[in-house]
């Protein structure tokens, strides 16, 4: 956790007080919550009353998808459809699938291009055909696997101009790219992804909207999300978010430079490795010229999250490579969801058009604020022997009958 978050949290852990209570300690806790709400709102460019604290990103996504679908349908019974990108996180995809299975919802799964970015023509087509039936469109601000950043301003223009609500899961984006929550109707943020505590997050949702609650009870958080707030977690979250957003430019630039170095050296060490996701380098990479675009106030022009590098290593199984790199002290991720305890090929890569084998042979290297040039050196040193070995192992494990 960020030191600011640890300090804010530990200060609250030593005090008592239920922010829902009216006595003195309750009032004090309430003040901490409201000040935290103001800090979160300020960091995201919205009003404090728009911020609904939740137990994290997954709850916020569920509240947006199910809550706004239900409330929209209650207000207008022709709104029985929603549209989500095919590359969304499971916290969006799974509640969407649940609405299909249990509420008879109709869904457009919006295509992404080969770099993982939303296909805007696909979105336009869906909107032009179904605008009056759509209760909600949900497009992630940045993709957690391949780092693709969505053109949210353009998307908002297409969606909101037709009177359709737009939600964006910005869990991966906040603190790394410029997130202006006022561009969308609802936005998901998570505490631990900005260097705050686990188990806290927020759904930013305008006062004019009242998503149907997932949790009913004491009426906290505008009656949208009942439950006693975790005051220390809320305070830590707000402190972390504020710090992440205020230091965003310099951190993004430094991490992007490190990441570009990593990509160049990986492609040098393993010439047939394939970089998945949007291109890097030049003005779009968060490299040297990124700063000026940002300083000019024209927003972040990068196509890819600065800390994300994602490769396919042909002939390797991601699992095997991960195991070998882990043994060499390099931590990475296959980016695949564990379904039923068994790693499955990533739905994001499949949505980008990858075949099963290359989806399985993929690895993500994530750089964060603790990453150093030495980490990259260690990765490069371990990579070539690991890839060679994983290729040999791959030959032994061609699944029978598959």
């Amino acid at each position: 956790m960020r030191p600011e978050a640890v300090a804010a949290m530990t200060a609250e852990l030593e005090r008592v007080g239920n922010a829902s209570s009216l006595h003195a300690s309750g009032r004090r806790a309430r003040r901490v919550v409201e000040e935290s709400r103001e800090r979160v709102a300020e960091s995201l460019g919205v009003r404090p009353s728009d911020v609904v604290f939740t137990s994290g990103g997954t709850e916020a996504d569920n509240l947006a998808i199910k809550g706004l679908f239900w409330s929209g349908r209650d207000a207008d019974d022709s709104r029985t459809a929603l549209a989500v990108s095919a590359a969304e996180h499971h916290a969006v995809l799974d509640p969407t699938q649940w609405l299909i299975d249990h509420e008879g919802a109709a869904v457009c799964f919006l295509p992404v291009d080969s770099t993982g970015r939303l296909d805007l023509d696909g979105l336009r087509e869906c909107i032009s055909e179904h605008a009056s039936q759509l209760g909600l469109v949900s497009i992630m601000w940045a993709n957690n696997e391949v780092g693709a950043i969505s053109p949210i301003a353009e998307i908002a223009d297409i969606v909101r101009s037709r009177g359709v609500l737009l939600h964006s899961d910005a869990v991966q984006a906040v603190g790394w790219v410029d997130v202006d929550a006022s561009l969308v109707d609802a936005l998901t943020v998570s505490g631990h992804k900005v260097g705050g505590p686990l188990g806290v997050g927020a759904l930013v949702v305008g006062r004019d909207l009242s998503p149907t609650p997932l949790l009913h009870g004491g009426g906290q958080e505008r009656d949208i999300r009942s439950g006693t707030l975790d005051v220390p977690a809320v305070a830590g979250f707000a402190a972390a978010l504020e710090a992440a957003v205020s230091t965003r430019l310099e951190r993004s630039r430094a991490i992007a430079a490190l990441r570009d170095n990593l990509i160049a050296r990986v492609l040098d060490a393993v010439p047939d490795a394939v970089l998945n996701g949007p291109a890097v380098g030049g003005p779009t990479s968060g490299g040297p010229t990124l700063g000026r675009a940002d300083l000019n106030g024209s927003g972040d022009s990068a196509l890819r999250l600065p800390g994300n590098a994602h490769f396919t290593f042909p002939g390797c199984e991601g699992d095997a490579l991960l195991m070998l790199l882990d043994a060499a002290g390099v931590e990475c991720s296959t980016g695949s969801a564990c379904q039923a305890g068994v790693p499955q090929p990533s739905h994001v890569l499949l949505a980008m058009g990858a075949d099963d084998a290359s989806a399985r042979g993929s690895l993500r290297f994530s750089l964060g604020h603790t990453s150093t040039a030495r980490d990259v050196d260690e990765l490069i040193a371990a990579l070539t022997p690991s890839v060679d070995r994983a290729r040999r192992a791959g030959l032994t494990t061609v699944p029978a009958g598959a």
């Binding site: 195991m323 068994v342 070995r389 032994t396 494990t397 699944p399 009958g401």
Partner: protein, 378 residues
Amino acid sequence: MRILAALSGGVDSAVAAARAVESGHDVVAVHLALSRNPASHRTGARGCCTLEDSRDARRVADTLGIPFYIWDLSGRFQAEVIDNFIDEYAQGHTPNPCIRCNESIKFSAVLDRAMALDFDAVCTGHYARLIDSGDTRQLHRSVDSTKDQSYVLAVLDQQQLKRSMFPLGDSLKTEVRREATERGLLVAAKPESFDVCFISNGNTAAWLTEKLGSHPGDVRDAVTGDVLGAHDGAYAFTVGQRRGLGLARPSLDGERRYVVGVDTSTNTVFVGLGHLLDVDEIITGEPRWCGGAPGEHFEALAQIRAHGEPMPCDVWSTEDSLRVTLHTPARGVAPGQSLVVYDGTRALGSGTIDSARRRRLAALDSSPLSTATPSTSV
């Protein structure tokens, strides 16, 4: 050494891995996902590879402080164990899926992958001992005779045995459970697994009917050929079986009748009195020697099922088959079962049973009964 420890989520593999760690090896754990549609929870002593087992395995690795991975071998397990099991039953054989799993999954697919990933050996919780004698690594029974699993490992050759590690072979199960408790492993009290792991309710006949369909046929007297009853599919019957025959007429003398032969080509189940099951000559397919072929003819002990008694015998070996003559006749020898040849506690090798017969029948000496092709005897 770099050791790959297979963790099933049970107590044995957990203690085996713990011992490997304690011996100073560099240990990495894998849990093998063998089912494509794992159940959430284990029901009693049956089934395996549930999500609960996978979580238990992960907890063991966390407790031991070693890396943990899940390897998806469900495709190979389906093709080489489950489909093989169905095919064998469809041919009227009685296969042992644990042996197939050891030979084609655990000590083949997993072992090969482990070697390719720079491991030196695979460690499992099997109850068997490995004893190095000169250049040969011998496979021996475990000291706990009630848990001994050398029978299901006797398909392994030198290459495989030399890359295997069975840390529990010198221990009693009771000691292993106690050790698991002392080590703080939460699986210490988990029930034993029995039966076929992929048949979750233990009802093999119903499971086979679901896979192979219903094929009504006759139940005939093995001696007279008379039709005595009907069945839903000859594949579901095993030589030596007594229950589930559903015969309306008792035998003339009121004695129990058994399945003495299954002919899937005519979909016929043959039944007869118990003495028809007595055999003293068994023929197997190609022998698999754990440590080189021992010779063309030798005396040994034969075991024909996982927890069967070792039986004194003479073995005649060729490249293609074993002929085993039992010094005392045995009952319930079914094609498809494995015959393991022992020298004392040492497992020499194994062969899959093709046929068995009685060489010298006291009462019916003119009708040698082959359990593989019983129709020829009636």
